[in-house]
Each structure stands twice: as C-alpha cells, then as structure tokens.
Point group: C2
C-alpha cells in the first residue's frame, strides 16, 4: 500500500506552492481541496470509483484538477492525445471501453461522434456527492493508460500503475537530486508521459510545477534566465528555440537553474554545445510510455564525454542488449524494473508486456564498456518528429485504406526543425493525385503523422520473405 499522493503531499507541506499557471498559484492544500471537490462532483455525475474514464484536455490547471479528481476516485484514466484525428480518438475510446470521456470545453470539437462525454464545465458546476476518499492506493492500481503504437500499427493502451510512476519518480530523484526550492516547468503535453510524469514528481517531491498552455520560447527563456524555474522537460526542437532566444538577447541561464531533461530522441551535438555556453545542463534521457518515463538518463557531467548516449539506467532499472556478449555489440534493448508496465488494455489485454520480466522494446542499441546506453535505431523504424512518435506501420495502414492505394511504405527523413518528418511511398492500383492522398490522411491521422511528401513508385523494396524494408525507402527519394 502506498499513500494517496495528492492527500499525503497536502498533509506534509500544505502551504508550499504546488502549481502555477497563467499568473495563478495553488498550494498543495488548495490542490487537494479542489481535487476533492472534483472527485465528489464526478461521483455526483455517475463516475464510479475504480471505473475507466478518458480525459481530453489541453495543458491547463482545470485538466490537472479533473485528473486528480479521477485519481482520488482511483479511476483508470485513459489520457487522450489532443493532436489525434477523430478516428484515432474513436479507436482508443472504443478499445479502452471507457464509461465516459471528460472533455475540456475548448476541445469539444475534437471528440468523435456517439461518445458519452462530460464537459469540464459540467463537472465544475455540478453538485457534490459525499464520498470517502481512500488514503491509500495499492501498488498495482492503474493510474493512467496511454496509447502507443508498435510494429503492428495498432495503438496499444499501456497501463501505468502506482508502482510504475512512483518507482520512476524515486529513481529519478536518486539521479538528479532534490531541493524543496525546485520548480519544474511543464510545456510538454500532459497527455504524454513526459508531461504527466512532471505532475507525479511534483506530488512526490513537493515541488512547484510551472505549467504552460503552449510552448513559448520567449517566455521560457526568460524563466530560465531570471531564475524563475530550476528544471524543464524538453524535446530537441524546443531546446533549439530556447537557445535561439537566449543567444539573440545574449542571456544566460540563472545560476539557480539546474537542468534540462531532454527526451523524445537524440539531441544534436550542436545544441549541447550551445546549451553549455548558455550555462545550461542538458540531461538526455531514454524513456517511453511503457516505462512511465525515464529508463536511462545521461548525467550532465557526461553530456560531452558521451555524446549520443542516453546514459545509464536509473537506480531501480536494468538494461540488457539481447544477444550481445560484450560492449559495443548491437541488439534489441530490453528493460527490467518496477517502472515497466504490467500490460495493456483493450484488444491487447492478453498480450504479455514482458518476457521473464524483461520488456523487449524493439529498439536497437548497445552498451559501451562503462555501461552507457547508445540507442542506434528506434523500434519499428519509429519516426520522431518534434518529440512525437510516429509509427510507419500506422501511417501505412491508413494509406492502404485509400481505394487507389495498393501498397504503401513510410519512413522518416531528416528535417532541420522537427528532427524528422514522415514521407510516404505508394504503389497505386488506380490513378490518384498525391494531394488527394494527403487530404485523405488528414482525415484519418493526427496532423504530425501526415506524410510531408507522397511519392508514387512502381514497387517497394522488399526482402526475400517479401517484408517491407523501410530503411531502403529513402533510396527511392527523387
């Protein structure tokens, strides 16, 4: 049994600031009070303790309070990605069999048809049902469910339990340290594990979260320079924009600024050097939805000595390279530890997430002689675009749904701004314009997943067993 994080944090440090957002601030006691109210309102609206609900909301304090209300009710929260298309959202809502979707009023237009939903305003204006809120949570209780795709192209709903989140946050603190004055800036989406884990850490650590509705490089650069924050989670493209502002204004990070946690793919060396010049430590991390955030993190002191490495596993975690007999041998990266998901919901409910306790990531990497991890190739030819994961198989499935498309292959190509962007190659069975194909994709896919170019080809590169060789697709580029 572990304590209800929100309640225990309020018990211990009621008067510390826990959250700031657009000029407003809340102590942990206030966060508890508001989230208690939300829990009671949700109960009054028929949300049952322990039920599964989905949440669709932008980075906003009201999204956090609804989430925390659900956590008091020990609901399994399916946290939906706001960038997805209606059909993608419909798939997840259906697959997870949620009783209700809790929707930020601003996001009303995003929800698919025929879905049972409650607007945040309805919840906030509802009466309260007096319910007892549990002081304790069980270790294996599911807190959140996030969807991620794999080799099949079908998104899988990943369970993230109390133990998963908590052990990750604790392992992280053993790596990066802690002070009660820490302030963690959150401009990454709360619907990604990178954002949600900032909330978890705040509840466990008792530190302030400075929440941004949207990424704003000007304002964030000032936060860093003026000593308003100590920590920030970023992806490479955001780091570059912040660097640009700091360089433009000839500003440096305040001495009280501690670190950047950089996830969602490798950070270019040039950014690391520029960050160092601006007085900022960058900790590159290797994490994923299935591990409730970080598995390995490169300490800042090694950032330039071990360029390209994702560091060592955090304290409770182990990493092995499948089949490797020594350092520098490449193989599939396998992960073990209390932060690894126990499994999936929906159609993959019976698919085990681990073998002998090891999560097989599908990513290819190696360890050097000191045990530092290098990720060579992301799973299933994963494309990482501005920190968002794009699975080629998922995009290919959509392309092949078009009546004119016979075969499709998708790969990532380098992009100065986004790191990578997706590009498609199609074999047609009847004539169609590439614009029409792109329009079709816009209906079925989140915008960031839509191929930036579609190339019509005669055939796709396949191996002897007729399997698509995505890495050879680039050679087809005109």
């Amino acid at each position: 049994m572990y304590p209800n994080w929100i309640l225990q944090r309020a018990n211990l440090t009621p008067n510390r600031i826990g959250l700031t957002f657009e000029g407003k601030r809340w102590t942990f006691e206030e966060i508890k009070e508001i989230s208690f109210e939300r829990a009671k309102q949700l109960a009054a609206l028929g949300i049952e303790k322990g039920s599964r609900v989905a949440i669709l909301g932008e980075n906003d304090s009201n999204t956090i309070f609804v989430m925390y209300g659900c956590m008091h009710l020990q609901c399994e929260m399916v946290i939906l990605n706001r960038k997805l298309s209606q059909s993608e959202l419909a798939y997840q809502i259906d697959d997870a069999q949620v009783t209700n979707v809790l929707v930020n009023d601003n996001d009303l237009a995003l929800i698919p048809e025929n879905v049972n939903f409650l607007l945040f305003s309805e919840i906030e204006n509802s009466g309260c049902e007096p319910i007892e809120i549990s002081k304790e949570w069980t270790v294996d209780q599911t807190v959140s469910i996030m969807y991620t795709s794999g080799t099949t192209g079908f998104p899988k709903g990943v369970r993230q339990t109390v133990e998963n989140h908590q052990s990750n946050a604790l392992a992280s603190v053993l790596n990066i340290g802690l002070s009660e004055k820490d302030v963690w800036l959150c401009a990454v989406p709360l619907f990604h594990i990178s954002g949600f884990s900032i909330l978890v850490r705040s509840l466990l650590y008792g530190n302030e979260v400075k929440l941004y509705r949207k990424f704003d490089s000007e304002s964030i650069a000032k936060d860093i320079a003026y000593g308003r924050i100590t920590h920030i989670s970023l992806v490479a493209v955001m780091l570059e924009r912040i660097l640009h502002v700091l360089e433009q204004h000839e500003m440096k990070a305040s001495p009280s600024f501690k670190l950047i946690l950089a996830g969602g793919g490798p950070v270019p060396i040039d950014y690391l050097r520029r960050a160092e010049e601006r007085g900022m430590k960058v900790l590159q991390t290797y994490g994923m939805t299935e591990t409730s955030s970080q598995t390995a993190t490169l300490p800042a002191e090694d950032a330039l000595r071990k360029i390209g490495s994702a560091g060592k596993p955090l304290f409770f975690n182990q990493i092995k390279i499948l089949g490797a007999e020594g350092p520098y041998q490449e193989g599939e990266i396998c992960i073990r530890g209390p932060h690894v998901t126990p499994g999936y919901v929906g159609r993959f409910e019976n698919k085990p997430s681990t073998e002998d306790g090891w999560l097989h990531t599908g990513d290819i990497g190696y360890l050097d002689e000191e045990g530092y991890l290098y990720v060579v190739d992301r799973r299933s030819d994963l494309i990482i675009s501005g920190g968002e994961n794009i699975y080629p198989a998922e995009v290919e499935n959509v392309l092949m749904g078009h009546p004119a498309v016979k075969e499709a292959g998708v790969c990532g190509v380098e992009d100065a701004t986004w790191g990578q962007v997706p590009v498609a190659f199609v074999v047609l069975k009847q004539a169609v314009s590439t614009d029409e194909i792109i329009d079709y994709c816009h209906v079925h896919l989140a915008k960031y997943k839509v191929p930036k170019q579609v190339h019509i080809v005669d055939s796709l590169p396949r191996n002897a067993s007729n399997k698509l060789m995505r890495r050879k697709l680039k050679e087809l580029l005109p």
Copy 2:
C-alpha cells in the same frame, strides 16, 4: 525485485567516493570490489547463501565490508550491539540460531563461550570461492536483524527487509532533499538502526559516508565548521558536546553544512537554540528498530515553532493515535507503512508485529491540529540514556535473578549528561549490599543498563491488580 544496492551503486557512480575512514577513502567501485571479495571469502569459509549470521564489530571500514559481503550472499545479518554483556549476546546468538558469528578481532573478548565464530582477519586472509552474486534482491528479503526489548523484558529480533530499509531511505530523501555532494558523518553505532541506515542511504543516494570509530566532539565540530560534511546523525548528548566545542572556539557551521538528524529521544530546547546560533539546523526524528529508522521527522523550519514535536510522518508512512478522536488527545502511537517490520525471529517468530498493518508502538503521544506528532511517554517506561534504549523490565528481570532480591522496580531519572539514567528499587528476601547488587548487574547487563543507584525499600508501589507502577518509583527517592 530491486537491484543489489552495492552493485547497482557501483554501476552508476563507480568513481564517486562512498566511504572515508581514518584518512582512507574508497570509491563505490572499490567498495563493490572489496565486498565481492568478502562474499567469496565467506563462501569459501562455509557461509551459505541466504543463511543467518551474526556480526560483532566496531565502527570500522572492515565491519562495513564484511556486512556488504554478507549482503551479497543475501544472508540475514544479526547485527550485535557491542555494548551488551556476554550473557545478553549469548541470548541473542542463541535466539536467532545463527550459523556463525563474524567478529572483529578487537572484539574477540566480547563473544560468549561455545559460540561458532570467524574473525574478520580469518575472513580477510581466506581464499575465495567463485560464486555468483545476485544482481537483484527480493522486496521481502531480510537484510538485517536487530534486537530490541519490549514490555516483557525479553529482547526480540526484529527483521528489517529490503523494502523496509529502501522505503525508509526514499521517504527520507523526499523530506530532506539530496545533492551528489552530500557527505553524511556516522559517529553513531553501525549496530543501531541510526548508524546502519546511514549506510543504506549512502548506497541508494550515492553519497559519501564519513565514518568515525568513536564519537569525537573536537574533530566533528571541525568537520562541521570547515565544510567537510553536510549531514550528521546524533543523539542529544552528542549534540551538546559538539555545541560546547563550537562555542568554545567561537566557530559556526559552514554554509555548506545542511542538517543534524537528531534521534534517540527529545532534544532539549536549549540545545535547539544554541544550534541555531551556530548555524545548524536540527531535525528531530521519531524512529525505532521496528521501522528501520525514521517514521516522523520535524523539518528544521518548524524546530522552534513546534518545540517538542517529532514532526510529521515521512511520505510513505502513516501515524494514528489509538482511540484519539481529535487533535491533542493522547493514546498509543500506531504506525503503518512499507518501512514497518514484517516480524521477528527466534522465540517471537510467531508473534505478529502488526494488527491490520498497524504497528502498535507502546509509546504514548498525540497529534496537534496540523498533524505534528508529540511523543509524551515512551513505551514500557522506556529509559533513553545517551541515545541507548533501556527497558526497565529487562533490568528488573536481571535484578530478580539475584538470590537476595525478592522484587525489583526500575525507572529513569533525569541526568544532565545522559538525559536519563536508570535507578533501581529492590525489596530483599535476605541481606545484601547495594554494591553487590550492582556488581551482579555488571556481569549480566551492558554497562549503560546497570542502575546508577540501587535503593532498598520495604515495598514497591503497585496498583489494585498488583501491577508495578513504575512512574511512582521516583517518589521513593530519598
């Protein structure tokens, strides 16, 4: 499953200093190498994986390496108190049914007769058996066993598991923060949980332990003033001596000094004020063997606002006052959390340590309206003398073993140096001098438990059901 702490720490930060002692220093990699060697030597000498062994050694690096060797072998270590008499040690060694006692050569004279033992020098000079050292430990594996007495006067061997130690260390870090530059001075005995928990924290946090063989107020005051350490665990009597030195030399703590963790009974207000003048934060803590160290700790910021309080529970812990319906109502302090022992070994093996998950401490206390714990009366009229626990029933049992003694009652009286010292009252059945009684106690009890005075009385204060009323004993003082 959790990682082998010693191994994982060496994997993560091999080159950081983990231990300094009398001018020598060891990195975590060196600590791992030496402790691996000890494990292999112990195996060569017949110590089996998972067996139960006792350890008797002073605060010395070699004691730590033997302990860590045992931990690699996943042995259950009965950590013996060096201050005990031979008969007290014999009781524990017999009760725990250990296969062997591992003894520091300096402590050879302390071990009882007819006990199977291995000297540290024998271990260090032994050959090695090649054995596989487990990378993982199970959550409920017993790391250490420490004896503590209760109402019956019979010491009970308390199991302290991986989960107990680990959750305590993690909850502590959420309370006091962490920096990789932390150095924790250990001058409290390693055979007490106050000392052993410093080792556990060091392995989890990756911080240096500065070990002292003996408490040395002059040298420690300089460590504090010159910025050589950041943390120290103390009992009140040690704090007073350090304060005395600092005051004498008109020295203050270095700005890099962080905190004193003060356990083993309340710290007098005067000491708190003087510590503040010397620039030192004092965090008073309430802990015990059964909770693998801290249960509640008073943050320094509340030290003077909440004088006399032991603070709030640490993050994973809960405290309730049995029978209390609101703040300020006194009752038995009950504790719940992953740091609470699962039970005992030996003759108390079948005695449950908790009821519905709650440890009933026997201590009396109350919570104020903000949830701060105040300990009013220690369990079983516990006497705390210089940080050592003395259970009156245990001393009374020994007194009544003397042929001339019919009845005995023991209580604590105030003492300027030690906080409290034990005093005995006896009813005789035949004539005997008080000196003879004291000599008799010296044979059977650790020195600190021997009554400083023995008073011969006609009868002892008893209640209607003939139960000894120890609190009334003081009224019999001449």
